[in-house]
Symmetry: C2
Subunit: 301 residues, 2 copies
């Protein structure tokens, strides 16, 4: 499917994308989803794409073909907002050209884009552009965008990313987010493209393609999982205490109470044996963690 993420922090921008494309599980291939427009000292723009590959490639073709003199391009637009509008117009041009034929084949006009970067003398900006060609921008409360298969990778970003996050930590966060997604969705795959843009540098200084042999990504892949399991083991297990009352339904009660006891009306309903008292978590302090191999004690919650 694709997974791409763009982040805007005080120190710079992070862009990360996968490269798997597919037309069904028996037709899997590789295609870059990151395109970088660099005019060193003047501007850097990075575009990430997700969705129908033919639609996103057609949009890139519109954006990179030579234009008539006087028509704006990503090299000449005076601001990042104008750049976002230009990408939106390119999508609309592809829509005008192709959507009718796609509809007749039952193919949805599915595409989305992340555009970020900086022009000389201006601030860094980051946008998400929709298939309809309009767009939204990040803010300090929401300093990132994801496109494609976004759900698996979202929790870690929400937990750690703020505008004050150092740039390399933000890159680490993006890679962990990508790792969770790779594990859970086969349509997202290596290699990855990672571009870390340093604020006011106005050139590409940090870029890598990460495949299975990349030591840093392999370290994240194995270490994050190990550490999660370790943290998991250190969190106390639930402790159960005898309950005064475990809610049971009797006939006539609200039918959506959870426990439906057997009654003679349901057929043979002789209760067997001594019932053990039911237990509940309701008013319980978490227990101390196990003293086995799991790690240092955590203070009671």
């Amino acid at each position: 499917m694709t997974y791409c993420v763009g982040m805007l922090v005080d120190e710079g921008l992070v862009f990360l994308s996968d490269t798997r494309t597919n037309a069904g599980v028996d037709h899997v291939s590789t295609s870059r989803k990151m395109v970088v427009f660099e005019d060193p000292g003047e501007r850097v723009l990075v575009l990430l794409v997700a969705g129908n590959l033919a639609i996103t490639q057609a949009t890139l073709q519109v954006l990179t073909e030579p234009q008539e003199a006087g028509r704006p391009t990503l090299w000449t637009v005076p601001s990042m907002v104008e750049a976002a509008r230009l990408v939106g117009e390119a999508v609309r041009e592809v829509h005008r050209r192709d959507s009718e034929a796609l509809t007749s084949f039952g193919v949805e006009f599915n595409c989305s884009f992340i555009l970020g970067g900086q022009l000389r003398g201006q601030s860094m900006r980051l946008f998400q552009i929709y298939a309809a060609g309009n767009f939204i921008e990040t803010s300090s409360m929401n300093p990132y965008f994801q496109i494609g298969e976004s759900k698996y990778g979202k929790p870690i970003i929400d937990r750690v990313l703020t505008p004050a996050t150092p740039l390399d930590e933000a890159a680490k966060c993006a890679l962990i987010s990508m790792d969770s997604t790779l594990r859970s969705n086969l349509s997202v795959g290596l290699p990855l493209d990672l571009l870390v843009y340093e604020c006011d540098s106005l050139r590409v200084t940090r870029y890598a393609t990460l495949d299975q042999s990349n030591e840093y990504f392999q370290m994240i892949h194995s270490t994050w999982g190990e550490r999660l399991r370790q943290v998991f083991g250190e969190i106390p297990d639930p402790v159960w205490s005898d309950a005064a009352h475990v809610p049971r339904r009797s006939r006539g009660d609200d039918p959506v109470l959870p426990i439906v006891p057997r009654s003679p009306l349901d057929g043979h309903g002789v209760q067997g044996g001594q019932a053990r008292p039911a237990q509940t978590l309701a008013q319980v302090q978490p227990s101390a963690p196990h003293a086995d191999s799991r790690g240092p004690d955590t203070p009671p919650g």
Copy 2:
């Protein structure tokens, strides 16, 4: 939307469900999604539901209404597989009754179920039942099912759950999975219903409704996030080294290489200033973690 999870481990079964229901963001309410059929000493069956509330409630009504003598019920079916088939038939009956009218209102026949439990003298079993009334069963390779908003909560289960996981650890895993989901999707909400079934007990011994005041769930909610951030800080940040070559495109190259340099054909293309050497991650050992507040050193990856 709903989030429910069912797990089958050697020691027993874990069932966890939320209670939020909505018909749009301005119409939010609470409804249990867990129903328990208990004949102590004979059988325990637990049903979790997700999807269109009227459809799932209609299915439960079919399953809990008195039947003609000789017709099977969840109290009398001779096996868990027969129980799963019975739930499937109940869904199909609701479909026969309601789907035409729903379709005329443009409402999808959206529902899914998790059914698990044990009959005396038999093994524990766990199934996921579809809107079409057919179903699948867990295996040792895949010992759990999720229905509803499943993606946010899936990674932690995949990382820690196996059939050998102790029962209380499995419950903890389910709660952490639910916590991630609650944070990321407003249509999933407290309180939660948690039922932990001990293998061969043939009765409900451990059940709790967890709301904001439950200390254990609050401990998980705050501790898991803190520990994740701590682990995140302990993982080394990426280190960048000078690259022999950062791929750049020149005209005529594959148009989907990531870096598109400016050329005179694109308008003024005078390169400004001394380019800093580009850096890449390609062959780099991760650095030692920062010596600040983050925690013990991790050995280089």
